[in-house]
């Protein structure tokens, strides 16, 4: 099997772009990042199967010249799962947009409240959480 440069470079590039997008606060970018990372991982699985070969169908081809079918099965499963999760994240982004007219990772107000608490606040009345968050 001859080593290929293209596949590792492609996988690395996809991982880099995916991680960069994942770190953004905008949910659409996060989703795109997740999709890129998913594809990078699928390519990684593909390359884990070794070199290319004939379609692994018993009969027409000689078993020694076949490509490894297992990673392909794994990739198919992974694609289905990524697809389902991506659809769910899209639905959440849509819901978030309808509710608060923004699609960013929200701030946890309770965390903020705890962070600014001082010792004299110990018996303070807990305040209602604000319903809407804007940056």
């Amino acid at each position: 099997m001859t080593p290929t440069v293209l596949l590792p470079v492609l996988i690395g590039g996809l991982y880099a772009a995916g991680v960069y997008l994942l770190l953004d606060r905008s949910l659409t970018r996060v989703l795109l990042g997740v999709l890129l990372l998913g594809n990078a991982t699928n390519l990684l699985l593909l390359s884990a199967g070794g070199g290319s070969g004939v379609a692994p169908i018993l009969g027409p081809a000689d078993p020694t010249s076949m490509s490894d079918p297992l990673p392909q099965a794994l990739i198919l499963t992974a694609i289905v799962i990524t697809f389902g999760v991506a659809a769910f994240v899209l639905a959440m982004i849509h819901r978030s947009w309808r509710l608060v007219r923004e699609e960013v990772v929200g701030t946890d107000e309770e965390d903020r409240r705890i962070a600014v608490r001082t010792a004299t606040d110990a018996d303070d009345v807990a305040l209602p959480r604000r319903p809407r968050r804007r940056r």
Binding site: L27, G49, V85, R98, V105, D124
Partner: protein
């Protein structure tokens, strides 16, 4: 016998979920169906545990495919024990949810979706426990995660979407790391079967082993909420409905712990990363419990203690001895039951007092004595007061730590004692504030009405809830509070203007909860919910009574894990592993 039974904990809940979806329009039928399914699965799980304890580990090749090619389910003592505890807890939570559903109707939690999703979650958890190959473990994780995404964002209110987004993204990242690790492991060894991996991974160069092991540990560490990968948990769990939080707290992180146990014992037995795990365990315990000390909301306090006590399990795993692992396994079983019970109690407290903020609650011991008892016993158990199972589990871990005797082990022993004490501080603070003090002493006066008025000043009109006594602290924070209230009103107006006024609008989430709480506070707690919680509390006490046999079982399971041959032999027989 095991061949027939082993696939059932996965198969039955999935079929049940399909059935529950079909009968979604008939809530009564749906309830009976899902309860029946879970009870059957519980019986199957108990049978599996007994068989696995008598005959040792057994494997089942699903679909009759020859072993390294097909999917393998392996039932050993650890998997059987996890399965029994998990299904028991799931059943308890389901009964609680049924009680809540019949008491409330389905305003905030659309139960026609809840039941099928809950069953899918159980199927995913069972699959993860039984999986005999890494990819099936991944699929099991994905099944339970997909179900958990839906459960966490049930109803789609603003706060749940916010918490859910964090949860989904973090879980996705962990899944991708896991999948990439599977790809690399396949590239290095040419198999994903765990029994085969146990043999083949040993022949890899040490550096590659270390890389693969750390990738798996990071992936599972995120799921198990081990510091520094734990920040997502207290952020996302408290927003969900009470039964959902309860089952998440009980089960999901423990599936991660289970996967860590498998990684550390079966796949990478050398203990190469035990040193890292020891410090991670110590940090998880201490930082988790310090977070809990700072919180004022009951659910958040419980979320932080959950993170903190994951540290005890990692402690046992990191020691790498039979005693340590036995302690960890016992602690997992104990903690699943105890944490679920406490979150169910938090759900009841919210019903009774209209809030889960311990600054606002008061007098619950007088107004709901049974509820107070239901909090008191599991809370002492969590803190590790003798003679409860929490004490037994901690004692086992401490003994194992002292037996190892290294400096790091002693640091862990000291850290876990401090954590235990701080847990006691936390739960006693909840007890004195929410349960013990008379309601007149709570700053907001009469709790439920104040909660409702607080939650919707703009809607009630009056705006100002009963101001606390004119103490200095009260006056000082007055300005900030007024500012916040004004901001709240502004937001509420924007909310009404920009939304199309759907009844499930997330903005009025708190307000709806408040008004419901106000209407509910003088009603007694629904019997089924109380009964389910009481049942769970009884289970935690039963764990204490049955601690002897249970600890024996945990010890045998730990012996199997460190020996590794029972697992491998169960899959490949006594011949050469291909």
């Amino acid at each position: 016998m095991i061949g027939v039974l082993a696939p059932l904990p996965v198969l039955l809940p999935l079929l049940g979920a399909a059935g529950a979806l079909l009968v979604g329009r008939h809530p009564r039928v749906q309830r009976v169906l899902s309860l029946t399914v879970l009870t059957t699965v519980l019986a199957v799980a108990v049978a599996l545990l007994l068989l696995a304890d008598r005959h040792g580990a057994t494997s089942v090749a699903v679909g009759g495919w020859p072993v390294p090619l097909g999917i393998v389910l392996v039932v050993d003592r650890l998997a059987g024990l996890m399965l029994v505890v998990a299904i028991t807890v799931a059943l308890g939570v389901l009964v609680f949810a049924v009680g809540q559903g019949s008491a409330d109707g389905s305003e905030a939690t659309p139960l026609s979706i809840f039941h099928p999703t809950f069953l899918v979650l159980v199927a995913g958890v069972s699959d993860a426990f039984l999986a005999g190959d890494l990819f099936n473990l991944y699929v099991g994780f994905e099944i339970l995660l997909m179900a958990s995404y839906v459960l966490l964002t049930l109803g789609g209110t603003a706060s749940r979407i916010r918490g859910g987004i964090t949860y989904v993204i973090v879980s996705l990242t962990s899944s991708l790391i896991f999948l990439a690790a599977i790809g690399l492991i396949y590239a290095a060894t040419g198999t994903v079967n765990m029994a085969q991996l146990a043999v083949r991974l040993q022949h890899l160069p040490a550096g590659i082993q270390l890389l693969l092991q750390s990738m798996l540990l990071v992936a599972f560490g995120i799921k198990a909420a081990v510091f520094p990968l734990s920040a997502w948990l207290p952020d996302s769990y408290p927003t969900a409905p009470a039964p959902v939080t309860a089952v998440f707290a009980g089960l999901l992180t423990k599936v991660g712990v289970y996967a860590i146990i498998r990684t550390q014992t079966l796949l990478f037995p050398g203990g190469a990363l035990d040193g890292v795990l020891i410090w991670a365990a110590l940090a998880t315990m201490l930082i988790g419990i310090l977070g809990a000390v700072a919180q004022t909301d009951l659910r958040r306090i419980l979320s932080f203690t959950l993170v903190s006590h994951i540290g005890y399990m990692i402690f046992g795993i990191a020691l790498g001895t039979t005693a340590g692992l036995a302690g960890a396994i016992f602690y997992v079983a104990h903690h699943i039951a105890i944490q679920t019970t406490l979150f169910l109690v938090a759900g009841l407290v919210e019903r009774q007092g209209g809030t889960t903020s311990i600054e606002r609650l008061g007098g619950l011991a007088a107004s709901a004595p049974l509820l107070a008892l239901l909090f008191f016993v599991p809370a002492l158990n969590l803190a590790g007061i003798p003679p409860f199972s929490g004490f037994i589990g901690k004692l086992g871990l401490l003994e194992a730590g002292v037996a190892v005797g290294s400096g790091a082990a002693y640091a862990l022993v000291a850290g876990s004692v401090v954590t235990s004490l701080l847990t006691l501080v936390v739960v006693s603070r909840v007890w004195t504030r929410a349960f013990w003090r008379p309601p007149t002493q709570s700053p907001a006066g009469d709790t439920a009405a104040a909660a409702a008025a607080d939650a919707m000043p703009a809607l009630v009109g009056a705006g100002a809830p009963g101001e606390p006594d004119g103490s200095a602290a009260g006056r000082r924070s007055e300005g900030r509070r007024a500012w916040r209230r004004a901001a709240w009103r502004r937001h509420a107006q924007v909310a009404r203007a920009s939304d199309d006024g759907a009844s499930d609008d997330g903005a009025s989430d708190d307000a709806v909860a408040g008004s419901r709480a106000r209407g509910r506070a003088d009603r007694p707690l629904p019997g089924i919910m109380l009964g389910a919680t009481a049942g769970m509390a009884t289970l935690t006490v039963a764990l204490t009574v049955l601690a002897g046999p249970l600890y024996g079982l945990a010890h045998r399971a730990a012996g199997d894990l460190l020996d590794r041959t029972p697992y491998i032999v169960s899959v490949f027989g006594h011949g050469e592993v291909p």
